[in-house]
């Protein structure tokens, strides 16, 4: 009996450690690499640590290392693209998600499915095809072209999450508002939108992070002129682990920040009372 329990507890602990390693192992390793100024195999730890590569990457210090890039322009480019993508995506996704959730739209299911398309097929062929059309439209290699790709990819999350959010709001809440004298627009503004806000925000965050991390589409459409953060990471990782790690961490920061924020918002007080 006791043996069994010991076995079970041990098993649990091992599982915990393994999952912990899987989650945080790469992060620790990334962090170590980003501050390693000298790290020769087979030493388990860097021989010399410091913030040199961070400073170089952030453009605070002139760099002579191989593969060195200043990531600041790439960072701002990625940020700008992501923000524009979010705004455009949400401007499409909120009305589309709402309409698909609340009205009987002919072929609504099929329309919703269409939004899944960019993600439903292997990515490379999709984007290679897209590249041909974009070249004809003179969008290849341009920032608007890349933004368009990000919007296509982002709409998957955008429309599906907003749709699910609007569907989860009981129609009686809106009907009650109509009955006390609110027209359709006021009902949307004062009842539907506030209730949907957490879901809409999550959806926007997903779109934002997707855009920030988007690689395949950007690679095919954007090269050789558009260098977003993930592309910079790709081109420097072959030469210099330190730069690559710095970029990876910078890419991680917004993701983690927003994940925590979503977690907070989803716990927000009134959400718990919905539908109850």
């Amino acid at each position: 009996m006791i043996n069994r329990r010991v076995l079970k507890v041990t098993g649990e602990i091992v599982l915990l450690i393994v999952s912990f390693l899987f989650l945080f192992g790469p992060m620790v390793s990334l962090f170590l690499w980003s501050i390693a100024e000298q790290w020769y195999w087979p030493s388990p730890l860097p021989q010399r640590v410091g913030l040199d590569y961070w400073k170089q990457a952030l453009g605070l210090q002139k760099s002579f290392a191989i593969g060195a890039v200043s990531i600041v322009p790439a960072f701002f480019l990625s940020l700008t693209i992501a923000l524009i993508t979010v705004v455009v995506c949400m401007a499409i996704a909120i009305p589309a998600g709402y309409a698909l959730a609340k009205y009987k739209i002919p072929f609504g299911g099929i329309i919703l499915f269409l939004f899944l398309m960019p993600k439903a097929f292997p990515q490379q062929p999709v984007f290679v095809n897209l590249l041909q059309s974009f070249t004809r439209l003179r969008l290849a290699g341009s920032i608007p072209g890349v933004i368009l790709v990000h919007i296509l990819v982002g709409l998957v999350f955008g429309v599906w999450i907003t749709n699910a959010t609007f569907k989860s709001i009981p129609p009686e809440l809106e009907e009650a508002a109509r009955s006390v004298g609110a027209n359709g627009f006021k009902t949307f503004l004062r009842i539907t939108l506030p209730l949907a806000a957490p879901g809409l925000f999550s959806s926007a965050v997903f779109v934002f992070i997707t855009s920030l991390d988007e690689f395949t589409g950007t690679f095919f459409i954007g090269l050789p002129f558009v260098h977003t953060l993930p592309l910079t990471l790709y081109s420097s990782s072959g030469y210099n682990m330190q730069f690559a790690s710095v970029i990876a961490i910078i890419l991680l920061i917004p993701s983690i920040f927003f994940m925590v924020l979503i977690q907070r918002i989803l716990k927000a007080e009134y959400v718990g009372g919905m539908g109850g």
Partner: protein, 358 residues
Amino acid sequence: MSTLLLDHIDKYYGKTKAVDHLYLDVKEGELVTLLGPSGCGKTTTLRCVSGFLRPDKGDIYIGKRKVTDIPPEKRGIGLVFQNYALWPHMTVFQNLAFGLQLKKFQKKDIEQKVGEALATVKLEGMEERYPRQLSGGQQQRVALARALVLEPDILLLDEPLSNLDALLREQMRFEIAELQKRYGITTIYVTHDQTEAMVISDRIVVLNNGKIMQEGSPVDIYSKPANKFVAGFMGTTSFIEGSVQGNLGKYVQLQTNDGLFIYGIGEGFKEGDRASVVVRPENIGIIEKSSVSHEEDAKNIFKVSVLRASYVGEVIDYKFKVKNTILRAKGDAKRPLRSGDTVTVYLNPDELPIIRSD
């Protein structure tokens, strides 16, 4: 306060006819209940009145105003839903104030009106709570106050009590009826609970398959059911079927297939008509089993055997059998009968409606 007229409305969902040529004229301040089984079209009818559905045929009038094509927010209706439908992101105060703000009332007036409305539903001091911080009963009171605070012309309630437990339901029935009378609001109340309908209504409209089966006062519906459906819907009912033998003063005599004779009340029957006697448990009087035999041909006295007896508190539910007919009855728990016993029962013919079999 206003009258309400549903002028022969039809409503289809695809090919299903949910409301069938329904005509309903509600007087000022009257409380009319739509009563019927699940799927009979109660909610659909109500949604036509509130304006969330448009009837395919027929028109709706509130007072003299034709509202068939007027959007819900301009109809002057108050709604109460089964699931309360309070806005979870607003406090109780905000829930009540929303409509008043839309109508551009002064802040001071809003506070006063909300305060009064909360007082009428006995929820003073709950202004700052969120709906989730209230019990189901309290939430439904807030929903009621939210509808009343705007003093609507018409109040529509769709099974407002069916999410509450039995005790609270009974208590709230009276409260709703009382508030409705105090405000004098013309009201349509939807329920599938016949007891609730009996307690609360000025008039009951029994629906089936989108059609009106019967309308009338609770007493009329109960004691003079128009057909088998209505009789069966108004509580536990047994039917004794037979053919009409003739009239005896105000009584109609019926003979069952297995040779029983029974009298009841009915009009317009002639010999040979197929008909049923409606027998309710409270119309079956149990004559002591020890009592000596009665004259065999005495009116409406039968020897029955007890098939089943089950305790339900102060009374016992019985299943009696006379020849091939089963009767549901009730008896005093202090003098219990056991299954297998034979007893004599008396069915007062004055209390037995006879309806046409169809």
